[in-house]
């Protein structure tokens, strides 16, 4: 479904992603983990067309981000880290705008927005300004944004950071429910969360992949009991920085 091929990205002289290659199969929930600054967000930003790679490419189905970016963008729903939404818009107004930009046909638009509002429990805040919302609600608006137009692929950059335990449980439910039909790639610093939701885990550090496999395989390979320990061993004790 998605093939990352020798992806490299420099910010000026800083190497953010270093010759990264991996593949995601259709219907898979992939956890892309790593310490802060490992290159996760950069990888997402290249996949979603926000940044251009310095070299290498990403292919989605048979399309290449360098040539068919617009087509690829139509297939991907993206939640950037901390959901930077338009502050002065009402929630409904914003979702309606996203629906228009994502070409949701007019007949089904209202019911689609309603459906997403139900799924993300946004019904009671639809008429509020986005800057009046709490972090948890803003994050949920971001998730509704990423689901708009029913994209095949979801890219979620730390969807549960800053949420309270109830909201984390809700979000996990949402991810699991939509993960049945969709390909999802997401990152989190809560490793137990990744272990329970992801089909497969890739850990990257300093722009390079350090391991790829299921949570079980990773623990086995590193001879550790928990994913936290494995993460520590693999990324030179940089966990806990955040």
């Amino acid at each position: 479904m998605i093939r990352v091929e020798n992806l490299t990205k420099y910010y000026g002289d800083n190497l953010a992603v270093d010759n990264l290659s991996f593949e995601i199969k259709k219907g898979e929930i992939l956890g892309l983990l790593g310490p802060n600054g490992a290159g996760k967000s950069t990888t997402y930003r290249i996949l979603t067309g926000f940044l251009n790679p310095t070299s290498g490419t990403i292919k989605v189905k048979d399309l290449d981000i360098k040539e068919d970016l617009l087509e690829i963008k139509k297939m991907i729903g993206y939640l950037p880290e901390s959901a930077p939404l338009y502050k002065s818009m009402l929630v409904f107004e914003y979702l309606n705008y996203v629906a228009d930009l994502r070409d949701v046909p007019n007949e089904g638009k209202l019911s689609h927005i309603k459906e997403l509002a139900d799924l993300c429990s946004l019904n009671e805040v639809m008429h509020m300004r986005i800057d009046e919302l709490s972090k948890g609600y803003r994050q949920r608006v971001g998730i509704a944004h990423s689901l708009m137009g029913d994209p095949e692929i979801l890219v979620l950059d730390e969807p549960i950071s800053g949420l309270d335990p109830n909201q984390i449980a809700d979000t996990r439910e949402i991810i699991k429910r939509i993960g049945k039909e969709k390909t999802i790639i997401y990152s989190t610093h809560i490793l137990s969360e990744a272990e329970s939701t992801c089909d497969r885990i890739i850990i990257i550090d300093k722009g390079k992949m350090v391991i790829d496999g299921t949570a079980e395989q990773i623990k086995e390979k590193t001879k550790t009991d928990t994913l936290e320990e494995a993460f520590k061993v693999l990324t030179s004790k940089r966990v806990g920085e955040r």
Partner: protein, 235 residues
């Protein structure tokens, strides 16, 4: 095309949900109205020339204030990332924002039509210069909008965007005019053609010449093209 219109609608509405739009429009009408009517009855003839002659300087300060938030705010808040990762092209984003700013200028100018109507009761109003003046105002507003958008795409700081945009508009309007004084005759006509005020004054005299329109369309095109280059460079 559809995305352009969607982005245009959002940006245009965004102006009117905050008080900024009403403040900017009020200040514009207040200053223009004051200067126009304070000498109108002394001049003894019915025309809007005085009004139009104020526009280059007014637009120099007001349009960069209208456009400064268009990219800077998005870059600062980070919503630019959401916008860019939706299925839209750069050109949709740039054109949508450009049309929003241009429409705002049109809304700001619309109340001055009342001046035209009210003075036409006093005497014979020559329609040629009035139509020319408004056409000129729109293309002048378009070029300055494009320049303001270019400045806004450069930085996440709205104040810097405003100052840079204003400086460029100011140079196009005035500096070139004053430089002419120091130049040998043979250069004068060349440099004159770079001046926004020179072309605007031609149009607002009611002399519709394609050269003047081509000037404004070129300035808009070049500024928006550079905007696109700046945004590409950020990727």
């Amino acid at each position: 095309m559809k995305s352009t219109i969607n982005i245009f609608k959002r940006e245009f509405n965004a102006y009117f949900v905050s008080p900024i739009a009403y403040i900017v429009i009020s200040i514009f009408l207040l200053i223009v109205g004051w200067f126009f009517f304070s000498t109108f009855f002394l001049e003894g003839h019915v025309s809007l020339t005085k009004l139009f002659s104020l526009l280059p300087i007014m637009f120099t300060f007001i349009i960069p204030a209208i456009t400064m938030r268009l990219f800077s705010e998005e870059l600062n808040v980070g919503s630019y990332e959401l916008l860019l990762t939706m299925p839209v092209r750069n050109i949709d984003i740039i054109l949508g924002k450009f049309l929003a700013s241009l429409s705002f200028v049109a809304v700001m100018l619309a109340p001055t039509l009342l001046y035209a109507i009210s003075i036409s009761f006093i005497g014979e109003l020559d329609l040629g210069p009035v139509i020319g003046g408004y056409l000129g105002a729109i293309v002048l507003g378009g070029s300055f909008s494009a320049i303001g958008i270019m400045a806004s795409s450069l930085t996440r700081d709205q104040v810097i965007a405003f100052i840079v945009g204003m400086a460029i508009c100011f140079s196009l309007t005035f500096i070139i005019d004053y430089v002419l004084f120091f130049l040998p005759d043979s250069f004068v006509s060349f440099f004159q053609h770079l001046s926004a005020r020179f072309h605007f004054e031609n149009i607002s005299k009611g002399v519709i010449n394609s050269r003047d329109f081509i000037y404004f369309i070129s300035v808009s095109f070049i500024a928006l093209y550079i905007t696109n280059m700046i945004l590409e460079k950020k990727k």
